[in-house]
């Protein structure tokens, strides 16, 4: 780890003033991603601004029924929150499918959104990686790419976004609240992360000096009928090969509304709006779920070692939809 100075901010304003527009300074939340990357000399901030004392730890229901989650709410506290468990089970399940209890006790909502890829070449400073070192090349495209993405890739980078929580937030159309010296703004979750394109080092639209203060989940009554399924190499404490966050509103066996988002397959948390649309006014049957999964995955591009992913992702979507789709088929 390279030397850095450390300060603790007591208010949002203090944190924002401290970071200024200094691209060599970083906020630290749970530290579970940042410290790891600093140990590997992948992140080398000269200053750390500890934001864990900020008053951003509440989960509130707003007058309009939306839920506002403070940026510093720990992943475990969010996962076990009664309201979240009842109204948005997919979010609770996604959180509990991620990392370990110890890490979830540390990890914050904002830190989870901003966690960086787990591509092993990104972590290996001896290997070329366009994300870590723009222009150096991508070791994964012709390398061991079993964990890598099949949607949203470019010829510069094929790394997945590793978060489980973000898959649920993408499905739920979350809204990210941001504060900076220029005031406050919000960004729709789906517009927050970026596909790699020619600039894989740019992973999201957060500007230097911006502090995430909260994530708002719009009220969505049918999300009480939702789930998250994650398929991985071992049963627990492992990143996704494929995952799906789904919600269905069904009346008399007919689908009125659907939400589908995927993890483990996309270069960002992957929302499947066309597949959702295809389900509306259809019966909740295995055949219809299968057809929707085909639509969700119609643009896949596989690589040497991850050609198994489309089929696995399809089965993941179907079984997630069946779990909440009742016994209609």
């Amino acid at each position: 780890m390279y030397p850095f100075t450390y300060i603790k901010a007591k208010t949002n304003k203090e944190a924002i003033t401290a970071i200024g527009s200094n691209s060599n300074a970083k906020f630290i939340g749970g530290g579970t991603n940042l410290i790891d990357l600093m140990k590997m000399n992948i992140e080398m901030p000269q200053q750390l601004i500890d934001i864990t004392s900020l008053d951003l730890k509440k989960i509130e229901t707003l007058p309009n029924g939306n839920i506002k989650i403070g940026a510093l709410v720990r992943n475990s506290d969010l996962a076990y929150d009664e309201t979240i468990m009842q109204k948005f089970p997919m979010l609770s399940k996604a959180l509990l499918a991620g990392a370990s209890p110890q890490l979830r006790n540390m990890a914050t909502t904002a830190g989870n959104i901003l966690q960086r890829t787990r591509c092993s070449y990104f972590y290996d400073t001896a290997m070329p990686c366009n994300k870590r070192e723009p222009g150096s090349g991508c070791s994964a495209i012709k390398g061991y790419n079993r964990m890598h993405a099949i949607l949203g890739t470019s010829d510069k980078c094929i790394a997945t976004h590793p978060s489980d929580m973000c898959v649920a937030m993408a499905a739920l159309d979350a809204i990210i609240h941001i504060e900076s010296a220029n005031g406050e703004r919000t960004i729709n979750f789906l517009d927050f992360h970026l596909v790699p394109g020619d600039t894989p080092e740019k992973e999201n639209v957060l500007q230097p000096g911006e502090l995430i203060t909260a994530v708002e989940i719009p009220a969505l009554p049918f999300a009480s009928n939702s789930t998250y399924i994650k398929v991985r190499d071992r049963h627990s404490y492992e990143f996704a090969l494929t995952s799906a966050a789904v919600a269905l509103e069904i009346n008399d066996g007919i689908i009125q509304n659907a939400r589908i988002a995927l993890g483990g397959v996309g270069t960002k948390p992957w929302r499947c709006k066309e597949a959702e649309q295809s389900l509306i006014n259809k019966k909740a049957t295995a055949d219809n779920f299968s057809a929707a999964a085909d639509i969700a995955l119609k643009d896949v591009k596989t690589f040497q070692y991850n050609a198994f992913k489309p089929k696995l992702a399809k089965q993941t979507i179907i079984s997630a939809l069946q779990t909440i789709g009742g016994n209609n088929g």
């Binding site: 780890m1 390279y2 030397p3 850095f4 100075t5 450390y6 603790k8 630290i28 749970g30 530290g31 579970t32 410290i35 790891d36 140990k39 000399n41 080398m44 000269q46 750390l48 500890d50 864990t52 475990s76 076990y80 990392a99 370990s100 209890p101 110890q102 890490l103 006790n105 540390m106 400073t125 870590r132 070192e133 150096s136 049963h235 627990s236 404490y237």
Partner: protein, 206 residues
């Protein structure tokens, strides 16, 4: 992490030499520089950055108030082991992947290897040494002994702290819940079944 003296030397060197001089003076680096990539450049620039100061941190560890003078890079794990000589907490992967470093901070189990000691000002830390002593064991320590819930013992302090945290959290209802919620602690000897038995016994007696 380097010990304090090594750090001081590194840091002092960095204070007084420029990047150019650094490259010229360091033969090992000169070889590396021929394949200079932007990341090596970044590293060299970092090495010539000014030395950050030491920090004073006060925390309660196992019931005792401790005041430490630390390099900001010190993790809680290193502070416990190297500064406070509480070597019961183990360093396994040092990257949050094994759970050997699990301790309780303000009652919650965390990986001390991914937590900066600097962020622990004012907190209460409980390590395996603070749970109980050989003469006055914590029920979880006793149950691990009784059920032979280890072989080499390296992961055991982390397993026990994690198990204490798990029962406090109160989310485990079934054997599978316990297995899932202990998955952050890897046991290379594979004592999982006995660990489960030990935890269940303490849970039932609580």
């Amino acid at each position: 992490m380097a010990n304090k003296n090594e750090n001081d030397t590194l840091v002092n060197d960095c204070d007084i030499i420029t990047r150019k001089e650094f490259i010229a003076q360091t033969s090992a680096f000169t070889a590396a520089i021929t394949i200079t990539t932007s990341s090596t450049k970044k590293i060299i620039n970092k090495l010539s950055a000014p030395a950050p100061g030491m920090l004073t941190v006060a925390m309660n560890v196992n019931g005792k108030e401790k005041t430490l003078e630390i390099d900001p890079r010190t993790t809680l794990l290193d502070a416990l082991r190297e500064n406070m000589h509480l070597t019961g907490t183990k360093k396994g992967c040092d990257r949050g992947q094994c759970g050997a470093c699990t301790v309780l901070v303000d009652g919650r189990r965390i990986n001390s290897c991914l937590h900066l000691a600097a962020m622990c000002d004012g907190v209460k830390v409980t390590t395996i040494e603070g749970l109980g002593t050989p003469d006055n064991m914590h029920p979880m320590q006793e149950a691990f002994l009784k059920h032979d819930a280890f072989q080499c013992g390296y992961c055991t302090p982390g397993q026990i702290c994690s198990a204490v945290g798990l029962l406090k959290e109160g989310h485990a209802k079934t054997d599978d819940d316990i297995r899932e919620l202990m998955s952050g602690n890897i046991c290379r000897c594979g004592a999982y079944q006995n660990i489960l038995d030990a935890i269940k016994e303490v849970q039932q007696n609580a």
